[in-house]
């Protein structure tokens, strides 16, 4: 037994593109979230974590975001990807390794997460001038 592929695509399109799931759900009509925020983590935030759980704190780090309207590909095959690369500010003098990322609700603080996953390969930040980037090959896939 599994989640039907059409259902997977409908759920992902609702979450990431604010697209109505015909006959089941529409985007929030009062204060809908307009962006998805991207956090970088130095360890797995886990299923109970928040945006600030093990969140990277390299010098100059700041969460990035993309729009729920145009920031994502339409779901296909039960997966979505960002429409453009997600690029973070270049580091100041820091020493850390990015191993996980997450997608969540707010630009700062212990905000709720939608999903989290691995960063491949891990990104080592060992000096100034390193600008981490998650490419458009990044994928959120349901099963």
């Amino acid at each position: 037994m599994g989640t039907n592929r059409t259902t997977q695509d409908a759920l992902l399109n609702l979450i990431f593109s604010a697209t109505t799931w015909a006959n089941y759900a529409i985007n929030a009509t009062t204060s809908p979230e307009t962006s998805i925020f991207w956090q970088l983590h130095t360890a797995d935030p886990g299923v109970t974590g928040t945006g600030s759980t093990s969140e990277s704190a390299y010098t100059n780090y700041a969460r990035q975001s993309n729009l729920r309207s145009t920031g994502w590909t339409a779901s296909s095959g039960g997966s979505v990807s960002p429409a453009a690369n997600i690029t973070y500010p270049a580091s100041g003098a820091s020493s850390t390794t990015i191993t996980y990322f997450s997608l969540g609700k707010s630009s700062g603080g212990a905000s709720p997460l939608l999903f989290s996953g691995t960063v491949t390969p891990n990104i080592a930040i060992g000096a100034s001038g390193i600008s981490p980037q998650l490419t458009t090959a990044s994928t959120v896939a349901l099963t």
């Binding site: 037994m1 989640t3 999903f115 996953g117 491949t120 981490p132 980037q133 090959a137 994928t139 099963t143």
Partner: protein, 68 residues
């Protein structure tokens, strides 16, 4: 002035484990990440191809559990 170097990587999320409770998200995530590494080792940089390989890896894990 410090020179800026962009270091690219691929983020992978597997939303498994909901209905298909016999498959762990970690199992699928690891297979998808391995597919990314393999593609990179082969010199593949096309995002579409990397995505395709990740989903292929996901589907293979699902099939191996007989839940496709």
């Amino acid at each position: 002035m410090t020179e800026e170097t962009i270091v690219s990587a691929v983020g992978t999320v597997s939303g498994a484990g909901g209905v298909d409770s016999n498959i762990t998200p970690k199992e699928i995530e690891e297979a998808m990440a391995a597919a990314v590494i393999k593609a990179m080792n082969e010199g593949i940089t096309d995002p579409d191809e990397i995505r395709r390989r990740q989903l292929e890896a996901r589907d293979e894990v699902v099939k191996s559990h007989g839940t496709s």
